[in-house]
Symmetry: C2
Subunit: 123 residues, 2 copies
DNA sequence: GTGTCTGTTATATAAATAGTATAACAAACA
DNA sequence: TGTTTGTTATACTATTTATATAACAGACAC
C-alpha cells in the first residue's frame, strides 16, 4: 500500500494518513488481519515523525479500523458499529449537502455522485 | 435566524457559525439580499468575540455565500460556481463514503440518506 | 459638522493543536 | 541477549483558535 503526504496541504498529516488508510480498507487493498508498517517504519518511509504516525493509528483505532498489538503492530480490525456509522455519515453529509444545495446542486446530481464513488471504490 | 454555539464542541466556533448560516441559506430561512447581523451585534448576541464572527463571515465570503459591505453589513450574495461546487462535494463525499463503506453501509442506504437530507432541507 | 454605525486592519495575548526530537519502558520473540 | 513492537514522557517550535483593545475610513442620519 502506497501512502504519500502532501506537505503543502492544509489537511493535517495524520489526517492524510488516516484518510488514505481508510481508502485502502474500503477498496480492499488492505483487509481484516493485514498489518500496517510499524509507526517507526512508516514514519521513516514517508519522512515524518513517529508520533505523527502514532496519532493517525490512534485515531483509526478509536474509530474502529485498527487494533494495535505489541506483537504484530498495527493490524486492520474492523469494529462494525453500523448504527454509529450511519449516524456519523448523516451528520457529515448534512453539512456538505447543505452547502451543495446553496450552489444549486440537484438531488439527482448528488445521487449520481454517490453512485460513481461507490463504483469507483468497489469495482 | 437563531444562531447558537456549543462551547464544548470540538468544532471551531467560527465553523459552527459558518455551518449554521449555510443551513439557513439552504433552507431559505435567509435569502439572497438579506442582511446578517453586524459582526459586533452577532458577537454580542451569542457571547463571543467580534473577530470570531468576522472570521466566519470572511470564510463565507471566500466560499461565495456573502458579500461584505460597509453600508449594509453582511449581505447574502450567492456566487454560484456549480463546477466548483460539484468538485468540492465529490472530494468531501469520497472521504466520508469510503469510511461508510468500511462499515458496511450500502449504496442503497447512502442514497436513502441523501434523499432524506434533501427532503429535510427543501421541504 | 457631529455622532454613530459599518467592515477592516493592527497588535497583543492565551490556549490548544500539530509536528518534530529524543529518550526510555515493558511486552514479545528470535 | 538483542531487536522490534506499541506506549509514554518531556521539550520545543509553529500554527490555529479565540479573545481583547484600539484605531481607521466609508456611509449616513441628525
Amino acid at each position: 500500500m502506497i501512502l504519500s503526504i502532501d506537505f503543502n496541504s492544509d489537511e493535517a498529516i495524520y489526517m492524510q494518513l488516516r484518510n488514505q488508510i481508510i481508502f485502502g480498507i474500503a477498496t480492499e487493498e488492505i483487509r481484516e488481519g493485514d498489518s500496517l508498517p510499524s509507526v517507526r517504519q512508516l514514519a521513516e518511509d514517508v519522512g515524518i515523525n513517529m508520533h505523527t504516525v502514532n496519532k493517525a493509528y490512534s485515531v483509526l483505532r478509536s474509530e474502529g479500523f485498527l487494533k494495535l498489538d505489541r506483537r504484530y503492530g498495527a493490524v486492520i480490525a474492523l469494529d462494525i458499529n453500523k448504527i454509529q456509522a450511519i449516524e456519523d455519515l448523516k451528520n457529515e453529509m448534512r453539512v456538505i449537502l447543505a452547502k451543495a444545495i446553496c450552489k444549486n446542486v440537484t438531488e439527482q446530481e448528488a445521487h449520481a455522485m454517490v453512485h460513481q464513488i461507490y463504483s469507483d471504490i468497489l469495482d
